[in-house]
């Protein structure tokens, strides 16, 4: 808890945002220490009795195994909210004309605030390592050792490099990611990466990899670079570490990467 607030202080640029974040962090920790039945108290209009019955049924049905302890069933605010959003597919469908949409926007902003730039200001790594991370679907399950690094699972949902035919279609194709977005040469890439901290494509790609929920609040894409409130994440922090995210940045944006062939 303490270290989380400190981390947050370091990365906050304005005082207001910072105190807001601390408040919401406190709220989160309060929520996570609440009893199971109180978890759903978000003012969301759904059948309380069904939710309560389900939560107690879930609690008696699961057991901890390996690194997957029961705290994984405790939802944070994003997870609670998105569990109630059935059939909501896209950020573009939100209008803020309803309480639901306003709440969605609040939660999106909370997620946005968790995105931090790379510590050394360099957004890129090695696209070859990035490909391996994209291929790797291991990590964080009860059968994975808790200390080993996680993979990105990227091919489960996305088409990425041309030669890998075994790709999923839950997410958009990322083949020719940079090419389709105006980076066609080593020169384009050098130019963009020189202004990494302001380049919209670099900022967007980094942001989605760090915390997808900052762009589409209930997207099925995991929040790869932020620490959720699970005790068991203490072992390895977020799903991917900063270096892994940099390697994925190169996989997607480097013109030499097989993605941009």
């Amino acid at each position: 808890m303490q270290s989380f607030i400190q981390k947050c202080r370091v990365s906050c640029s304005t005082k207001g945002l910072c105190s807001g974040l601390i408040a919401s962090t406190l709220l989160l920790s309060l929520l996570s220490s609440c009893s199971w039945t109180q978890q759903t108290n978000l003012g969301i209009d759904t059948d309380r009795s069904v939710q309560e019955k389900t939560l107690s049924l879930v609690f008696e049905s699961f057991e901890p195994k390996g690194q997957a302890e029961l705290d994984r069933l405790k939802q944070d605010r994003t997870q609670q909210f998105c569990s109630t959003q059935r059939g909501l597919k896209d950020q573009s469908q939100l209008t803020q004309s309803t309480t639901q949409d306003q709440l969605a926007e609040q939660i999106r902003l909370e997620n946005q605030a968790l995105i931090t730039p790379p510590k050394d200001g360099n957004y890129f790594g090695d696209f070859k390592r990035g490909e391996l991370i994209a291929q790797d679907g291991r990590g964080k399950t009860w059968s994975d050792p808790s200390e080993s690094p996680s993979g990105g699972n990227c091919y489960n949902c996305h088409r990425i490099s041309k030669n890998e035919l075994s790709y999923g279609t839950l997410g958009p194709s990322l083949y020719q990611f940079a090419k389709l977005r105006g980076i066609n040469s080593a020169k384009d890439f050098a130019q963009a990466s020189q202004n990494s901290s302001t380049d919209p494509l670099i900022q967007y790609t980094w942001g989605v990899l760090m915390n997808s929920k900052a762009y589409n609040v209930c997207t099925v894409m995991p929040r790869f670079g932020v620490t959720l409130n699970h005790k068991t994440q203490g072992h390895g922090g977020p799903i991917l570490n900063e270096q892994q995210i940099k390697d994925l940045m190169s996989l997607l944006l480097d013109p030499r990467s097989p993605v941009n062939e």
């Binding site: 049924l57 879930v58 049905s61 069933l73 059935r86 004309s97 964080k140 399950t141 958009p172």
Partner: protein, 279 residues
């Protein structure tokens, strides 16, 4: 895209994010198109195996097991009541999970088989629950499930919703289906609420629709080519939760039965085709 009463400020604030998002999805149609040839090739691979499903070998073993005197009481399961009366196997599976008067619980096929194995044959329920899939009596349950489900092949799903507990289990199953959690924010719905999508090369049935639920619920137990063995619905669900990064669901626990009620009821009117054949 936005309704007319949308505050203009909100639109402006989000135009950036929305545009970038639309941008990311722009290549989507292209990917779908490229996927067609792969899909056709995979369909060809699967249809070649479908014709002679190794699951048939396990159905024969399960049938032999059903009539064999076993367990501490040395009895066969021929008097087991799967919901249509003692000993009735034909058509029982397409009406499960259902409420059972004797246990006062809603039970799926495997849960009911465990009940019969304890009551009739004298096996210990807790020991069976503590075992691993594919080992000891759990391996036998997979054979029995293959046999029982095969006796409903070609029949139509009619999972009952008459008892209050059956309806309650449906509601809870639905709630759990959409419950996000774990390190990756996944719910069942993350993968199983859209038509025509794949994870890697695996087709993902849309379990919120009748056709999708019918296809998924109606083809487990199944012979898994990659495992060279029969997997039951309980095993399928447990491995889904593992990959969802959730803790482990206990064998035949209420949550797993609730999910089966949700799928089974959604599958109403669809035709059973188990045991199936899967990757």
């Amino acid at each position: 895209m936005f309704s007319f009463n949308t505050p203009f400020k909100f639109v402006l604030k989000h135009l950036g994010a929305a545009l970038l998002y639309a941008y990311a999805w722009s290549a989507f149609a292209q990917a779908q198109q490229l996927g067609v040839s792969t899909d056709a090739a995979l369909a060809q691979y699967r249809s070649m195996l479908q014709d002679a499903n190794p699951a048939d070998l396990y159905v024969a073993k399960g049938q032999a097991l059903w009539t064999k005197a076993r367990g501490p009481k040395a009895q066969s399961l021929e008097s087991c009541d799967l919901g249509l009366g003692p000993g009735v196997v034909k058509g029982a599976w397409v009406q499960m999970p259902r409420y059972f008067n004797d246990t006062r619980r809603v039970q799926d096929l495997e849960s009911r088989l465990v009940t019969c194995m304890e009551a009739i044959q004298g096996f210990n329920t807790q020991e069976i629950i503590a075992q691993d899939f594919s080992k000891g009596e759990r391996a036998n349950i997979a054979l029995l499930a293959a046999y029982v489900s095969s006796e409903s092949q070609g029949m139509t799903f009619k999972v009952p919703q008459e008892h209050a507990l059956e309806r309650e289990m449906y509601a809870s199953g639905q709630e759990l289906f959409y419950m996000r959690g774990g390190t990756h924010d996944f719910s069942c719905a993350s993968c199983h609420t859209q038509d025509g999508r794949r994870i890697r090369l695996q087709d993902l049935p849309n379990l919120s629709t009748s056709a999708g639920a019918g296809f998924a619920f109606g083809t487990w137990p199944a012979y898994r080519v990659s495992m060279g063995s029969i997997w039951t619905m309980q095993q399928r669900l447990a491995d889904c939760f593992r990959q969802q990064r959730f803790p482990k669901p206990k064998y035949v626990s209420p949550a797993t039965v609730a999910l089966s009620v949700f799928m089974g009821v959604n599958a109403s009117g669809q035709v059973a085709d188990a045991p199936g054949l899967k990757r």
